[in-house]
Symmetry: C2
Subunit: 269 residues, 2 copies
């Protein structure tokens, strides 16, 4: 007997093996399977392999289908049986997914969530910094047509005042295959520093760059911006962290796990 | 040929089916498998089933083994071959795991991380509130011998001033099978309000209670404290969120997905 429901399943961070056993079961029992890949990049994912593993066709939907058409296509299937919607990372971190869930419930479609590994916790974990010391997070957008958003600079400044770390997600435009790099993000912030002159982001500011969290070859590199800006992090996705005050255990983690200069030890509170 | 390494594998949130396919592979290829269950509660987990699924014996280690003995037991195996260390949620969110990783690397043991679903992203997701609007998180501890920590009250106050949401993790003492409930956490905070009188936590403050995130029957309930404090959330683990300023989409999410009163719509910015 088919249930009328929409199940959000998180695919995790890297490839088709990052789904949970529970998520895999949900796909196998589905009447229709949809997926979106524009909110995050899963560098190793093969949709064909996912289809072979599950025996189900995966319908990849575009931003247009979800945001302009409001997910109608998905709801039609969820009204006939069990629809599964696959998303990179952990579902509902992207606002689009929350919107879709609200629309579904308002139409009487039951929804459930199967969680997956998310950049939100993964990067916090491998940064070596303490979860409780992260303040508000921010996305550094592409600078389009000469317009540079001041928001990231201001968020980093406010967090620093409170001794808190800032997680900076870097913008992606998946449909154009453009992923903001750590280098570009730092260039943007140094440019803002020139205008604002508040000593928030200088060549001697300590940062942590993280590339491909959750992949087979993640890179975590801590250092001063003047060094990190020229470091070769390799392929996307990238993430950037501005540490606040460091506990001595955090300094040890940065030195041992992220190749930070030894003098970071002297920067602890 | 055996590698000398220590692989941290996240088990996710609820039971043995929340591990990723990649995590399962790592266990199957391991020479020795360890696990700890004192940093988080996985309500549905059966170690026996995990052993059946993988064909490996799982050695559960206590807080004492990890924190007092510094993980010596695990390192001995990692020096002979491939040791896997299973942890609830996503590895390295608990400071203990970061400490263990630093010690391993300092002894020349290579380490890797296989991520899992974490309460850090799962509760943010199912709360319906936006990831970017969470400020610093805090743990509400058990009040022991009449001592009540003011920290959670102060963190909620500071986040609210900035319009930010506060994620409150609730203390667990797994070895005594004690898990702080939403009701107990709210009682503690109302008690602090009586002393501090800063109108941060009152019976008319909006909160969101989340029980058993990632389980088959999670509960998400938003409302005023006077209502939520008497709501039956059922078994642990519980989490509590203090919303800051609400965007209208967040209000819609709370009404539709968390049974918040309709008037929440009038509280948006």
């Amino acid at each position: 007997m088919a249930l009328n429901e929409l199940v959000f399943v998180g695919l995790g961070l890297y490839d088709e093996k990052d789904i949970s056993l529970r998520g895999l079961e949900e796909i196998r029992e589905a009447d229709a399977v949809f997926a979106e890949f524009y909110t995050s990049l899963m560098p190793g994912l093969s949709i064909r392999k996912l289809e072979e593993m599950t025996g189900k066709a995966v319908n990849v939907v575009s931003r247009r289908v979800l945001e302009e058409e409001g997910g109608k296509l998905i709801f039609e299937e969820a009204k006939k049986g069990k629809a599964v919607f696959l998303v990179p990372g952990d579902p509902l971190i992207a606002t689009t997914h929350v919107d879709l869930r609200i629309s579904a419930e308002k139409q009487g479609i039951k929804t459930r969530v199967i969680h997956g590994a998310s950049v939100v916790s993964a990067v916090r974990g491998i940064s070596g910094l303490q979860n409780y010391k992260y303040g508000k997070a921010v996305t550094i957008p592409f600078s389009e047509k000469g317009f540079v958003s001041e928001t990231p600079y201001n968020v980093i400044r406010e967090n620093k005042k409170m001794g808190l770390h800032t997680m900076c997600y870097l913008d992606i435009k998946a449909e154009e295959q453009r992923y903001l790099s750590i280098k570009e993000a730092l260039q943007t912030l140094l440019e803002l520093e020139k205008q604002k002159k508040e000593q928030v982001v200088t060549p001697r500011t300590l940062v942590i760059g993280v590339a491909r969290a959750g992949s087979i070859e993640p890179v975590v590199k801590a250092g001063y911006i003047e060094e990190v800006i020229n470091y070769n992090f390799g392929a996307p996705p990238h993430t950037l962290i501005f540490p606040g005050k460091l506990h001595f255990m955090e300094a040890e983690a940065l030195i041992t796990l992220a190749d930070a200069p030894e003098e970071v030890r002297e920067m602890t509170e």
